[in-house]
Symmetry: C2
Subunit: 770 residues, 2 copies
């Protein structure tokens, strides 16, 4: 690596030629970010450009394949969650909104595709790209780094480059000479592509280089409207569109216009528009696409504020500097560069979702479909809360690395609660919509964690009220039955056991919050509910098991099976260990220390036969370790449970084993969905040597660091340092831990230990201690 | 008539038993208003409740029949323009938005229907009402007066009463005893009912008596969203809905809710909701439905401002007083009560459209789909401009009776222009949408008329710019060809002749405006264009006639035929006389005085054979006088053209003949569409003895008054009085006219003559003068 002479805002830019074969000038930590990690198969990450927590995620789309089930047209809601699959060979265009690593899909707003030659307005198919506007591409020409993506569109000889600001996607297309160059604006493209998804599309051509509009969709988010303002660096010579909708109730006097060509108002259900240019060889055309949740006037204002001019490189660098600043929060020394790539890519993936969801002026559309102003309410509004996943480690990570944002996220959730007609905190919320995905009411975990850790910036009493209202909601997922029986009866839910277990943990969170806020009545009510996990444990077989209303356990039951046995994204083997708030109680329930250790050992070694694996969602075979499913979240705390046994060293070796086996530098580097950063947050915590087994408490459990050292720059100005003395690939065991030079007797550190600044020293060894 | 003792706000309420068989307490002039006039067949008026220019028109719907054309499902866009047809025997409910007297349809928002017994969510059919929620009714139980409608819903024993404020519809339902009373909120009901019209429906149940939401439709107005807030005077005991949409892309985790019953968020394409009650015998349940073009919060605020409590009678009276105040602007003495009914009903129908289209706080949704604030711009925003119809007499009438509103309407049109992406003044605009219905750019006539009459309240120079921009718009209806050829060539338009004629008149309006504003260049440009009418006149046959690009007239041509001969809503007979701005020139073109008189005489006497009548749109046979079509607007000025001949008395007799033959007191009292008040405005002007033949000038042409006397109370505080000395049914001729006691030599009076106040005296006679 040669240091370049370029110094921008005091940061060093370096010319790299080593990591993944790319030669480019990059920032010291940004150069370790490989957005391509997780883009192959199950990771569901996207390789495109974004700034930290940016509203725009501008990324290539390689396909969106609807398929047929029993003759009924179905979208592929799963494979193309991020729009991009590394194994594909064609690109259909570049869209501006994406989830990072989810297991269900939506978004993909406003696909842009540059082409030359005959105008084609259909995307074509992967097997027959020549009959559509899509283009072949090769990974050879591809570069994916933080806030920058480039690729050559081979069929057209166009070089495509992408970068972003928070609310603006910037495209730079280098064209060949052509008298028929086109830029297609495909308003029909959807991630999660289903007939009838497009409710309405509205486009206004303001002048020869500015276009505004919106699209309203009924997808995972049932009622989502995204507004845009699009500007071209060069005026188009002509434009037009095609409406693919088959129902158009009234045409009438509109017929007097030739609306398909150069007519500045375009609206309907299913629209693809195009803009024509003449280009010279090597001519660059830039596009800026600003988004807004409120109006196209808001989008225009966002563009004016963030990207008023035409300087692709400047905006690219500014965004990369923003990333560098985020990555610098944790400076690490590692045993290998590949660990650094994993680590900083995990940092990168952790800081994408939730995304900022408001205009520059603070206005956003709430869950109540009304326009609100976050600036007036003194917070930044965030959206895309995949809480079943992220309450475990991503939100706790924010409490350390992003406490200001963590407070704003809680405030965003409390606003969601205010706007919810069913009086619920978010479950899986995105873009002013609630999709209810997965189980539990884990927003309460995030709230309790923020209260426990004194994050501030929100009304804690209100948070408690919202949590209790949510947890006693008569409409939501069998809560009345749960309150009545102390568990959800088998007949009432397909996930009666896992939901009961999750409710019990969430209830413990509420109890902790109530305790801290001095509400004894709520504390006792929910501390009692937190013990409900015991109600679904069947001691006769040693597993959590579905139970009917009469209190009898289901007869036919297979603890290895994930599907149809009362659980979701986990079988009884894994979920029986899901009592993060009371490992001691669980160990006792499962027969004490030895039995429990045996159980944990078996989990990591029992081979899961194929017939069971087929029903294990969201992961590849590599995402399994024995029967432990790292690619799904319910087991994320399990490696740390050895800490409560007489063999805590097994936490250390297991964590190190998972870090090595589940995270790689390649496109297939994630064994399961990144789940908006939860998988990555697990990596960051575990690499640093500690993990939040039970968010809602202010404690982290110690594991075995992968780093040689780390220095965490806190927002309060203090620094928390981690050192692993005698670190090596073999020295996975921790024989002693010191906090500020003083030996730690327990297996935990607290949030205050971190936020006070100081040093945590791990003494590593090839052999385990006691 | 007995005067009652009730005196409210200084106005006398009288108990009536005479007019149309209704016994009720009514105001002195309001009692002459019979909203039922025009509800049978072609009038397309609605009988329901509204206040003057009210945003809400709450009226019964008797059906909306989709029919099949060549096996393709079609809406009946015509018959049910107002939702109600007098000859029907069932009512499907009461909706809150209607056009008055149009020839195309839309609206019908938010149908409410009270029922008892088994819940039925489909409307049923007229021939089989028992299988739907509709009810039989009889005109015996019906009362339709200004701002009040009542009817008995026979199938349920429910008495329904309706009244309104500007933005709120108030329902009062008197129920029988029932443990299964329902109030249905049908969000699928549409006037102009077409599959796919409902784009999206959103309903939130805020509490046990308040519901808010919106509906977005793609109808005549392609992209219209209307918001509502609904409040019940009594809490409902339960509620639910059914989604009739066949496409619902994502359900997923929504399945965990029983969304069909008591679930407070209802959304989808096609929704019918219901609310259940127990009722005692004679129990009244009141409903308030507030509308907003902006948001449901806006609708709630509108309700709070206009109808905060529960006093149906009070609001009814307040609205009727508002009507009385409007009607008092013209106090008349007539030869018969039936003339008074015609006159004040015409006043009523003239003051419905355009409607106020903004929230209490001034916010409204513009043509650009953005929210604007009219209060900040110091005007009241109006919508529903049926300008092809209304520029002729309705807008001129406003310049006399509603000058403040006339200025605001011009300002509303100029805002429309600002918001128009195609830079056009409104053509047929409604609810933030442009539908382009009919021909011409007649908004310029309204602007020119307002400038000519010094209406004020708007920027006249801007009006001129908007007019010129509109009239030279390269996108709109063959304007480039019109500019190139001086007429629209036959091959380019199905209405090449009538559009050329209308453009020529509109151009004259622009010329007048330019002249007054001192822009000589524009004056000359458009004064020249105004003579283009001559270019489509074929002297060889004596008719306006389609002409091709080479300047040759179409060979095969039938001047009696309305369809396919280059005209719209009029044949060559009528349209050849359509040069309102240059009767002198026209007379010369058509062969001079004698030939012209002969032509006019023939028009009113030539029987139009059935084969031609079949193609004469929008009127009944009674709407014809010979071949003169009063039910369609292009002939509205024709009776006054005798004034330019040597036999002006024929204007007098013809006008009186039309007044008597085309307007009656019954439900079928209008021979053609009221066209948002144009037919009614013609009646008012002609009854008073003068008419605006060429709006855009400040002159009115004298006819023969029907009233014995009239006193016009002007907004400037002055009074203009009309007296018809020796008035009688036979004395239709005017032998002398005096203005303020001084004999008028010409056949005109000016706007200033009126606005200065004073007296116009007609001396009536059985024999015509010179």
């Amino acid at each position: 690596m040669n240091k370049s002479s370029g110094i921008l805002l005091g940061l060093l830019w370096v010319t790299m030629g080593s990591v993944m074969g790319q030669t480019t000038t990059q920032l010291p930590l940004v150069r370790y970010v490989k957005p391509i990690i997780g883009t192959e198969r199950m990771g569901h990450t996207f390789p495109g450009a974004t700034v930290p927590f940016g509203s725009v995620q501008l990324s290539p789309e390689t396909d969106t394949i609807p398929y047929s089930v029993d003759g009924k047209y179905q979208p592929d809601v799963y494979k193309y969650c991020a729009g991009y699959q590394y194994d594909d060979h064609t690109i259909v265009g570049f869209a501006h909104t994406h989830f990072n690593g989810t297991g269900h899909s939506d978004l993909g707003d406003f696909l842009i595709m540059p082409t030359t030659g005959k105008l084609r307005l259909n995307p074509g198919t992967a097997t027959d790209p020549d009959h559509g506007f899509r283009s072949r591409f090769s990974h050879q020409s591809e570069e994916a780094s933080a806030n920058y993506y480039r690729v050559d569109l081979q069929d057209y000889g166009i070089k495509a480059e992408l970068t972003t600001t928070t609310r603006v996607g910037i495209h730079q297309y280098t064209f060949p000479a052509s008298d028929s160059a086109h830029i297609i604006l495909d308003m029909m493209y959807n991630i999660y592509n289903y007939p009838g998804k497009d409710i309405w599309t509205y486009v206004r051509v303001l002048n020869d280089s500015t276009v505004v509009g919106y699209r309203q969709t009924n997808g995972w988010a049932k009622n989502r409207t995204e507004y845009f303002a699009l500007q071209f660096s060069k005026p188009f010579k002509s434009y037009g569109y095609k409406n693919y909708s088959t129902t158009e109730p009234y045409i009438g006097f509109w017929r007097r216009f030739n609306m398909s060509k150069n007519f500045p108002l375009i609206q309907g259900h299913d629209i693809r528009a195009y803009f024509n240019f003449n280009t010279t060889s090597g001519e660059k055309i830039e596009l800026k696409m600003a988004l807004s949740p409120v109006s196209y006037a808001g989008a225009l204002a966002n563009m004016q504020a963030e990207a008023p001019g035409w300087d692709f490189d400047q905006l690219k660098k500014a965004g990369q500097l923003a990333w560098e600043k985020q990555l610098e929060k944790v400076k690490i020394q590692t045993m290998s560069d590949s660990d650094k790539v994993n680590f900083y890519t995990a940092m990168y993936h952790s800081f994408i979702n939730p995304t900022i969801y408001m205009d520059q002026d603070g206005r956003y559309k709430g869950l109540d479909q009304q326009v609100h102003n976050a600036k007036k309410d003194q917070f930044t509004n965030y959206t895309t809360f995949s809480l079943w996943d992220t309450h475990r480690a991503l939100h706790p990570l924010f409490t350390i690395l992003q406490p200001k944002r963590a407070g704003d996220m809680v405030k965003s959730m409390l606003k969601h609660f205010d706007q919810s007609i069913v009086h619920m905190l978010p479950v899986w919320s995105t873009y002013g919509n609630e999709g209810w995905c997965m189980t539990g009411y884990h927003a309460v975990s995030v709230l309790a964690d923020a209260v426990a850790k004194n994050i501030g910036g929100f009304d804690a009493q209100k948070a408690l009220t919202a949590a209790v209202t949510t947890a006693t909601n008569p409409l939501y997922d069998n809560i009345p039955a749960y309150e009545k029986y102390g568990y959800i009866p088998d007949s009432m839910s397909g996930t009666s056991v896992s939901t009961t277990l999750e409710y019990a943990y969430d209830d413990w969170c509420i109890a902790q919050m109530a305790k801290k806020l001095g509400n004894q009545q709520i504390y006792q009510q929910f501390a009692k509910r937190a013990m409900n996990y015991k109600n679904v444990y069947d001691p006769s077989i040693g597993y959590m098991r579905p139970k009917n209303k009469a209190g009898e356990f289901r007869k036919k039951f297979d603890p290895l099976e994930t599907s149809g046995e009362g659980f979701i994204e986990g079988n009884a083997w894994n979920y029986t260990l899901y009592v993060p708030h009371d490992p001691k109680g669980l160990i006792s329930l499962l027969g004490g220390d030895k039995a429990f250790i045996k159980r944990l050992d078996a989990l990591f070694t029992t081979y899961l036969p194929d017939k069971y694996f087929a029903h294990t969602e969201d992961i590849t075979r590599d995402g399994l370790i024995g029967n432990y499913v790292h690619g799904n979240e319910p087991s994320h705390h399990i490696a740390y449970l050895y800490n409560w046994t007489s063999q805590p060293w097994k936490t250390q070796s297991t964590v190190r084993m998972i870090l090595k086996s589940q995270y790689h530098n390649g496109p297939d580097g994630l064994g399961g969905n990144d789940d908006t950063g939860q998988m990555s947050a697990w990596y960051i915590f575990s690499s640093l040597g500690f993990y939040p087994v039970a968010p809602g408490s202010d404690l982290y459990n110690l594991g075995s660091p992968l780093v040689k050292s780390a220095s965490i720059q806190l927002e309060n100005g203090k620094t928390f340092t981690i050192e692993a003395v005698d670190q090596s690939p073999e020295n996975v065991y921790v024989n002693k831990v010191e906090l500020n030079g003083k030996k730690l007797e327990g297996k935990t550190i607290s949030q205050t230990d971190i936020t006070n600044g100081g040093k945590l020293t791990f003494y590593m060894s090839r052999k385990h201690g006691k």
